[in-house]
């Protein structure tokens, strides 16, 4: 059977986010992220003063861009992109020059000092390849995150993007980010 083309992406309904950080913890546990580093985070935006105050939580991680600048600048090809769009680091090829961290517009990468290599969100490839969803998606108590295949017309993610308004962050960098934030 011929493999169907896939393009994984993440839809984030940030209005549902409670800032409980279960996604951050689940990611650390699933991927054994070293102490002091995180593969995902929750940005906070405050507007105004009490009583006219609003606060917005916005989870963020690697955007698994369509034209990832980290992959472009990597001198050894250690940063690479799978056919399904997931951007990964080949740890054996990484020399630790950190050019990719500088090239990433989203500050999504961190430097693992112990191993001397750069690391980042992998969309939990080890789970996705088994047909499961990433750990942050599975654990989210308020269902902020919807993971799916943009090439699959029947997927929930396609339905959301067809029926809801959304934005992507900093599209002007030309990276083609694939985290879609519902408005």
């Amino acid at each position: 059977m011929a493999m169907k083309k896939k393009r994984y992406a993440l839809v984030i309904d940030s209005r549902k986010c409670l800032n409980c950080k279960a996604c951050v913890v689940a990611c650390k546990a699933e991927n054994k992220v070293p102490v002091g580093h995180f593969r995902n985070r929750i940005n906070e935006e405050r507007k105004g003063e009490y009583p006219t105050l609003s606060i917005n939580f916005e989870p963020e991680q690697c955007h698994h861009c369509d034209q990832p600048s980290c992959v472009r600048v990597c001198p050894t090809g250690a940063s690479w992109q799978r056919k399904d769009g997931i951007v990964l680091v080949n740890y054996d090829e990484c020399i630790g020059c950190r050019y990719c961290m500088i090239a990433c517009p989203y500050d999504a990468r961190y430097f693992n000092e112990e191993e001397g290599v750069v690391d980042k969100c992998t969309f939990c490839v080890q789970r996705v390849d088994k047909g499961e969803v990433p750990a942050c998606v599975e654990t989210c108590p308020s269902k902020v995150r919807v993971f799916g295949d943009l090439e699959d017309p029947k997927s929930r993610i396609r339905e959301l993007l067809a029926t809801r308004r959304y934005k992507v962050k900093e599209p002007q960098t030309g990276n083609g980010p694939q985290l879609y934030y519902l408005l």
Partner: protein, 327 residues
């Protein structure tokens, strides 16, 4: 705020790489300019040739030490990725260093070669075979090295300028700015070395040549920095915000004071003052030793500060909206 991933080692490396490029360029030019079929500035060319390869060799060593896994640096040469400035740059740097060392070798006298090979055990016959006179290749090596020295000078700027996510860097002017800064610091370092070399006192026409070269490069650098500022202010919001780092932000003082005034305008003033009577009044060139030393030292400091400001300020600039990480 974005953390800085590239620190002082990278600043030093960018400076040393540029310095070598500038030294080689000045030396090659000095060797190329001829009066009565003889190089007019042979001693300048020789001094430049002797100095040129060392800064870049040291700088490359620092660069390797800055890697997370320094022993994996060989992987840079297992791949050629034309989309990655660093990949192109590491090849360029290697070829340039080899050419610069060959060029140095071509300038050694027979006695000097004898002295070097005297240190090598006589039983290493294969090594002693290398003791050949290649002084006839000087011109050819200089010609081969010219484009590579300019390439290395540009590359140190392109490495930063090609990063689209850092608006402070991502303009087409950074590469030229770094190139002219590199060429002027090369001329200044050569002037410094020639003046300090008391065994072979520098002659006035040699000082004049190096000072002229430096004035040209500093002027060109100034004509790049001004449009960089003007163009940035007329650009998009992200670029304007990035420029605020030097126009009212943490790097304002160091940019305007030590870099622009002390590192560019003051040495330019000194050098123009030195050259003025010779060019416009037909009198003899001053050739003041202390003024030459001051100007050269300040140019070198300016070249270093330019890289310092750009490496650090550039990493702080980003397209990110002002959302903070929740503590």
């Amino acid at each position: 705020m974005h953390e800085t991933n590239w620190g002082l080692l990278i600043v030093v490396y960018l400076f040393l790489g540029g310095l070598s490029a500038g030294l080689f360029f000045a030396s090659g030019l000095a060797n190329y300019l001829k009066v009565d079929d003889k190089p007019a500035y042979a001693r300048v060319a020789r001094m430049g040739a002797l100095l040129a390869p060392w800064p870049v060799a040291i700088g490359s060593g620092l660069l390797i030490l800055d890697l997370g896994n320094w022993y994996r640096f060989y992987k840079l040469f297992m791949h050629f990725r034309w989309e990655s400035p660093m990949s192109i740059g590491s090849w360029l740097l290697t070829i340039f260093t080899v050419v610069a060392f060959l060029y140095l070798y071509s300038w050694l006298s027979e006695d000097e070669r004898k002295w070097i090979f005297g240190k090598i055990p006589a039983s290493w016959k294969q090594v002693h075979r290398l003791n050949v006179d290649i002084s006839g290749w000087r011109e050819t090596l200089g010609m081969i090295g010219f484009p590579f020295s300019i390439g290395v000078g540009i590359y140190t700027g392109v490495l930063l300028g090609a990063v689209s996510s850092r608006p402070f860097w991502n303009t087409n002017l950074v590469a030229q700015m770094f190139l002219f800064s590199a060429l002027s610091s090369g001329a200044a370092a050569l002037l410094l070395a020639m003046v300090l070399d008391k065994k072979n006192p520098i002659e006035k026409h040699e000082t004049k040549f190096l000072v002229t070269l430096d004035v040209v490069f500093i002027s060109l650098e100034l004509f790049i920095i001004l449009p960089y500022l003007i163009h940035g202010e007329l650009s998009t919001q992200a670029v304007k915000e990035a420029l605020n780092l030097i126009l009212g932000g943490p790097f304002t003082f160091i940019f305007w004071g030590p870099f622009l005034i002390l590192g560019l305008l003051v040495p330019l003033g000194i050098e123009v003052y030195e050259l003025f009577p010779a060019i416009f009044k037909g009198r003899e060139f001053h050739g003041n030793r202390n003024l030459a030393l001051t100007a050269a030292g300040l140019v070198l400091m300016g070249g270093f500060l330019l890289r310092y400001i750009f490496v650090y300020a550039g990493q702080m600039s980003s397209f990110h909206s002002k959302m903070g990480l929740l503590q």
